[in-house]
């Protein structure tokens, strides 16, 4: 049978001799037709475009892999799911099913975790903003509270003085690990003695139970050795606390910051080639802790608040080409139906974007714009893609982290979110936003309700 060939518009491309140009290396013409066995087109047809899709399989694989990588290097490991990375309940629940605790940085996230059914003592309460009420709730639930500043420490002492049970606390420590920028705005500094000051206060006042030490040295860390420095400084604190106060620290929380395989803007090589594997971070942290000199029976637990590295590649954003146009300098531009309002991370990364349909393998340099009537709405500044036509579909990769939690209802409504389960069955985990939903909390004073135009 003779099938009709797909029409492809002609394109003129200058031939470069010598080295390949910077676009040439990143030709994205391999189509992504399905995710976990489900056709992308079918998903778009059923749930509308654009659409976020999470792969449960990938989430579980990532988690199990990370857990295995750490547990085969260190005997006592506990992951806590970083809610801010992606607090879709369905996603959180997958992590909790796998045994992950919750790490939250606000009352809102705290209550979300509680509602998801995480026991209070398995919710780590981080962040600089905790009201007295928040702290009392955390104390009541026996949650480990990670103290960020002295004022919080004083508040906690005041709150704890009326209680019979000592609140479980840890202090957040910041330190120089040789990387820039140094995150010194959170917690107590190691080098200048603030950390010891806080530790001394907690232990000598004896109102709080210092169960852990917490650090979080940065985000999208591309140097695993920085974690070795951090781990050694944390171990030093823990061992000296034992020496000075005969008190064993139950856990060392190394925070998060492991990079995902995304490509940072301005980076020459692709993320998949340059970003360290999770094994490398694990090696740096665990070998430092194992050799730090802890008493064999009193090795502290290693807590990890890994977010991005566990979820980024499990999330996809798929959409449709709205139009093509040519810019003043002759460059091609393509307008998609999703933009920076739902894909905030396009400010950080050059996301990998694949076509969905089988297109030719001739590519042209193009700019991908979002649908918004805002100049900043650029999905990819430069990308080499086969010629896309209106109605074609594309998929953005590595969008699992931070996009859902940071997406804005700006100009357009936020899309639906689907999770594909282990058996390849899609489940709607968040419906597309509606006007009614957005306006539900809005109030209009009576005198403004009528107008004549």
């Amino acid at each position: 049978m003779k099938t009709k060939k797909t029409y492809e518009r002609p394109l003129i491309k200058s031939l470069n001799s010598g080295l390949m140009n910077k676009f040439g290396k990143r030709t994205e013409w391999t189509p992504l037709t399905e995710i976990d066995g489900v056709k992308v087109v079918d998903l778009l047809n059923e749930y509308g475009s654009p659409l976020f899709v999470y792969s449960e399989k990938k989430i579980r694989e990532n988690y199990q892999h990370a857990k295995r990588v750490f547990e085969t290097r260190y005997p006592k490991v506990q992951f806590a799911w970083s809610y801010k990375t992606c607090y879709l309940n369905a996603v959180c629940d997958v992590y909790h099913q796998e045994g992950s605790w919750a790490e939250v940085v606000s009352r809102f996230e705290y209550e979300k975790a509680l509602k998801n059914g995480v026991p209070g003592d398995k919710i780590i309460f981080n962040g600089p903003d905790k009201t007295d009420d928040d702290l009392m709730l955390a104390i009541k639930n026996n949650s480990p509270i990670h103290i960020d500043h002295l004022d919080e420490l004083y508040r906690l002492h005041e709150l704890a003085s009326g209680l019979t049970k000592k609140p479980k606390v840890a202090i957040r420590v910041n330190m120089d690990t040789g990387i820039y920028p140094m995150w010194d705005r959170f917690g107590f500094n190691y080098e200048n003695g603030q950390a010891w000051d806080a530790i001394n206060k907690i232990i000598t006042l004896n109102k709080l139970d210092l169960v852990g030490l917490h650090t979080h040295i940065g985000t999208f860390m591309l140097t695993p050795s920085a974690y070795a420095v951090a781990a050694s400084k944390m171990a030093d604190l823990a061992i000296n606390i034992k020496k000075k106060y005969k008190k064993s620290i139950s856990y060392i929380d190394m925070g998060g910051g492991f990079a995902s395989k995304n490509t940072l803007k301005g980076s020459y090589y692709m993320g998949s080639d340059t970003v360290p594997d999770i094994e490398e971070y694990a090696e740096a942290i665990t070998s430092t802790l194992i050799n730090a000199g802890f008493d064999k029976d009193e090795m502290p637990y290693l807590y990890l608040e890994t977010g991005r590295a566990l979820v980024d590649d499990a999330g996809f954003l798929m959409g449709t080409v709205i139009a093509n146009k040519r810019l003043s300098d002759g460059r091609r531009a393509t307008i998609l139906d999703f933009g920076v309002n739902v894909m905030f991370t396009s400010f950080w990364y050059d996301h990998k974007i694949s076509p969905v349909e089988e297109l030719g393998y001739h590519t042209e340099d193009t700019t991908l714009y979002g649908p918004m009537c805002m100049n900043i709405d650029v999905v990819r500044e430069n990308i080499s893609m086969p010629p896309l036509s209106p109605g074609n579909h594309v998929v953005a990769h590595f969008v699992g982290a931070y996009n859902v939690t940071q997406s804005m209802q700006f100009i357009s409504l936020r899309p639906a979110i689907v999770m594909i389960d282990l058996h390849g069955k899609p489940h709607l985990i968040k419906t597309k936003e509606t006007l009614e939903g957005i306006q539900r909390d809005e109030l209009v004073p009576q005198h403004l309700k009528t107008f004549k135009l």
Binding site: R60, E61, Q64, H65, R68, V69, E71, T72, R73, Y74, P75, K76, Q78, D121, N142, K168, D209, V211, S248, S250, Y251, D277, E279, E283, T286, S287, I290, N291, K296, D297, E298, Y301
Partner: protein, 729 residues
Amino acid sequence: MVKVATVKYYAQLLFEGFLNSFSQIYFSNGKLLAALLILVTFFDLGASFAGLIAILTNQITALVFHFDHKNIREGTYSYNAAMVGVAIGIFYQFNLSLLVLLVIASVLTFFITIWFFNQLAAKGLPFLSIPFLLVTWLIIIGGKNFSALELQEKAELTLVAFYPLLFENTTNFIATLPFADVLFLYFRSLGAILFQYNDLAGVIIAIGILLNSRISFLLSIYGFVLGFLFYRFMEADFSHLIYSYIGFNFILTAIALGGFFIVASNRSFLLLLFVIPLIALIISGTHGLFQFFGLPLYSLPFNIIVLMVLYALNQRVAVSKLHKVFFQHFSPEKNHYKHFNSVERFSSQTYFNISLPVMGFWRVSQGNNGNITHKDDYRYALDFDVVNTENKTFKGNGQELKDYYCFNLPVIAPASGWVVTLIDGIEDNDINEVNLQQNWGNTVVLKHGDFLFSKLSHLKNGSILVKQGEYIHKGQVIANCGSSGRSPEPHLHFQMQLSPFVGAKTLLHPIDYYLIKTNDSFQFHSFDVPKEQDVVCNIIPTPLLIKAFHFIPGQEIIVITNENKTIKWEVFVNSLNQAYLYCHETNAVAYFVNNGTIFYFTDYYGAKNTMLHHFYKAAHKVLLGYYAGVELNDKLLISDTFNKPLNMLHDFTAPFFHYLTSKYHFSFTSIDNEHSPSEIQFATSVKGNFMQKTIVSSTYQIKINDKNEVEFSLINHPQSFKTILCKSI
């Protein structure tokens, strides 16, 4: 000034020694049996008096020469003297000269006892009644030389002289029973051991033996009947058996080899089937010879045969079903139950604890007797790798070493030891390549003890962190997993061996404690060899549990019962380095072991149903690492669960099969905080089963906290209680 306490101590020592001198003759230390035996010797006042003098002299000699009080208390030195005394007392009229002879004879018995005791103990043999034989024969022969001694013509101060009817009636009664001729011989033979050749003595002794030990009683009949049948079958001269009722040799041999020195079992009964005729043969062979010198054979055949058989058993290359008793409990029952209990509980236990050489969950990719390379000399090796939930060993396409989950993972020391052999510098192979020239690849051999080495092979090139000769501790990282040598893909080869050489043949050795992961549950294994495809992990202890079950010698434990009564326990360690809890109120003792992974009780002595006995049952085996859902099973002695009558009834068939069992079960119930717990609870149960059916059961709940307290309660019982143990710091 002599303190009252000292007098009391010595009085008690001598009294207990006196009682045991009698019960030891019948392989026991039962007080009731001793009382009945003493009663029997009182049938002849002279004999009993002579026995008393002999024992006392023996004990005083032992004390003067500073011998071990334990042996004095157990009557070990004096039971031969007791027999010598009774024999002399029956033989001669009582006068001053006899008293002198008695004293001299028992001093001699003592020295001969010491000599044989130590000479034979060095060979792992008992000295039985050799001292008695030598001294008694000496006196029988030498006594003719002492005119001051008079043979006892007609006993005057005997029970039979006062109550002849009692004896007659007993005899007449037995005559009415079936097999009366055998019964007469049996009872008189039993009595003959104490030189009481009458039926009443025999009946009393038989009752004593029965009450004291069902197995001994069964053996006495079994042995005697065997001997009797042999005589009848061979149409032998029965006058041998009637003359001084020498048939008691059958009885003593049966008890000695059937349950006292050898653990009672169907095998020990089978052994007797062949051994008893030997006794008969010796009796027949030596009877005439000894009669020529006017000497009774007494227990000579028993001594010869028991020593010969035990000596032969000591020379065996391997032990399968016929077990010698290693720790003598002076009771065939205790010997039997405790032996089989410890075989079931500890037989796989090894002296050295070898753990898994890795952290986290690894898969056994090739087990013992694997069909790739674990064959012949290398059949007891284990290969490990790491798999994901789909049982795949690598991510991506698996073309690179670093795709493999186990590659570059730390390998840890399975036990403490010295680095004796070290090979490094061999390149890791590409995937599917093997290096047959350097078969084992980069390797570390650790020495854990003389003739116990572990070998870790195929390590990553350049990853070895230890140095030759270095002493490393269990769990220390020694290298990383690689793929050097004969290794087509990254994995760890682990084997135990007897020599430090690379390529030495493997030794079958269990892994001490580990968990097997199946789906989402864990299975606990102790002293077992992981099977191929098992996904295994070392046990990580929970500090709170370790602390709660860490009993330090000298520590006092105050036990507060729910009636607010307080009992004091104390922790001791004996000379064999065994730790035990001692109850100051009941004198009960419970031996325990805490090895950092498991806390378990090994043995209990003392009254049943005391608080210590409950604790011994409730915390019989405790896992010191918290794992929800993990279960432990163990066994107790049936005497820990069942009442005395049921126990006694069970004793009769115990050598052949056990229809009663007591089983222990352990599982965790709750933890208040998994990582910094201040309270952990677990539930245990002890079930007494008749065949498969549970007929008695106790369920305990144990709660430990960070205040050094252990609270345990019995919950399913009418006598339920709640008790708190508070440990002194």
